[in-house]
Subunit: 320 residues, 2 copies
């Protein structure tokens, strides 16, 4: 991973955001604080704050303004993770037990609500109605996406466009908005923040497809959960959709439930790999990435271009 | 109920809000729309919008501005009801099956998220940062309140102030904020919107205490659920807290669980009533109400005073 340049040049600002995140999730309720802290300490790549900061560099970068946008977006993302873990009945996240596992679903529901509410506080500190509007519309879309995801579970006949719309709402949208709002916070021209939105969207699509591939190709050790777990949970992703173009493979995949055991999952993963679905998925991810890189070329010169390109290439090459 | 004057004079504005609420919960996701609609059609008194409209009358009442505040507050309230029903594992709300009962907890969680997100969209349409700040702080408090409520379940030794803080966050705060933000939207002076906040706070405290009394004194037919259900769900309210000052009664109440049957609950309700706890609770509710009425007297003359007084008195006399 070649993001050292990035983290060196933004270290103090990223450290500041990390510190503020800690303060944000503290509360005068011990239970809320413990639950939120657990999540915060589990880490994460803080990819949304990074995109906010870098995008703001295309304009008038002021950390005081940009910071609140970065905070709001990371907190929204954290809140959605907590609610996702309830939906997926997940026990582990980033190698640590989830809030719904340690406490229960109800604590997780309200911890997510609390973190989301805190994100609004950061947002309202920014005196720019355009930012508020765009962010609240994005939250609506993310919520619709999550509820659609519940509906789509174990829907083996879903069209490809259904999958693409789902990962847009699940991942690409918030990354796109991170880039867009970072640029708006930096007071860039409309043509620039629109392009950064599209850059973020393509990066996000590529990123999520890679994530969905890794669920089949990584080891249990790397994932922190068994391989093929998405499919077992009914989350029908790109490799499975491609593989099901073979009717015989489809007949096997359609039988998967959350009770399917490890041995059977290993056989199914092998079947999927044998169809070439993994390679096809990599190709689609790569196409999105190339679109993102094309947009980057069109953007005016800025210190942020190099690190954005590095991140894009890191995402494209990521193997765990 | 003598609220006819109120509803006659505000009918067109309240109808407008009702129509907008319908539009607000519609979405391009059928599942979200069905779930939200169910809740909307179950009705409710729209008490928060009513307080917003009336409070705005102390200033420069413009329905276009005030409407968005009323919408945001009612949607926040609706979202919190959906999440509450998950917490309480409730099957019925206002005589209709809950979202978590018809679909499941996960759909309910995200429907609540969706409705909350929609409320933000309304909020961001108001170009007043003070409103945004106050509202987002209120949402944080409401969320902390809900999570504390989970912690407080079956805590029979909780002090009275713990109960009072809980109902403040659960009910009084959003009513206080409805009054405050309505007045701010009407551009009143600070002294007026501060007083209206306190008016709403006292009304809300009185209202919730009455609600908690009714859970013991109403019939199953009136409540749409068995009497004493709050206590069975571990929600230790004012009548129970007063009654437990008698150690023998306390010993009986402490044994209540969600498995306690109807006959045993009837015996316990009778015990509570025999201690005089219901009357004591009415007295405290009355004290809050009197404080609200005192504040009303201090407020400048306005068309809104009479209906606010009517609502206050209705809340004070409410017996189901």
């Amino acid at each position: 991973m070649k993001l050292t340049w990035l983290y060196r040049n933004f270290k103090s600002d990223l450290d500041l955001i990390e510190k503020e995140l800690e303060e944000a999730v503290s509360s005068n309720s011990e239970l809320v604080e413990n639950a939120s802290f657990k999540l915060l300490k589990a880490g994460g790549k803080r990819i949304r704050p990074v995109f906010v900061l870098l995008s703001a560099k295309f304009g008038d970068y002021r950390i005081e303004t940009v910071k609140n946008v970065a905070m709001a977006l990371e907190l929204i993302h954290m809140a959605s993770l907590v609610h996702d873990d309830v939906i997926d009945d997940a026990n582990m996240r980033r190698g640590l037990p989830t809030i719904n596992y340690i406490w229960d679903e109800r604590v997780a529901m309200y911890t997510g609500d609390y973190i989301l509410a805190r994100s609004l506080e950061y947002m309202t500190d920014i005196p720019n109605p355009l930012l508020h509007k765009k962010l609240s519309k994005a939250i609506v879309e993310v919520c619709i996406g999550e509820i659609e995801q519940i509906k789509d579970k174990y829907w083996f006949d879903q069209p490809l466009r259904n999958y693409l719309r789902r990962i847009k709402r699940k991942t690409a949208l918030l990354i796109a908005v991170s880039c867009e709002l970072g640029a708006i916070a930096g007071n860039t021209e409309e043509s620039i923040y629109r392009r950064l939105y599209r850059f973020g969207y393509f990066i996000g699509m590529s990123y999520q497809i890679t994530d969905d591939i890794l669920d089949f190709t990584s080891s249990e050790e790397e994932l922190g959960k068994p391989a093929g777990d998405d499919l077992r949970q009914g989350n029908v992703t790109l490799p499975a959709l491609y593989a099901m173009r073979d009717p015989q493979v489809k007949a096997k995949i359609e039988k998967v439930t959350h009770k399917t055991d490890k041995e059977e999952m290993s056989r199914i993963i092998k079947l999927i790999k044998d169809t070439g679905a993994i390679e096809q998925s990599h190709q689609l991810s790569r196409r999105y990435l190339d679109k993102a890189l094309d947009i980057l070329e069109e953007l005016p010169e800025s210190k942020a271009k190099r690190p954005l390109k590095e991140i894009a290439n890191y995402i494209g090459r990521r193997r765990y």
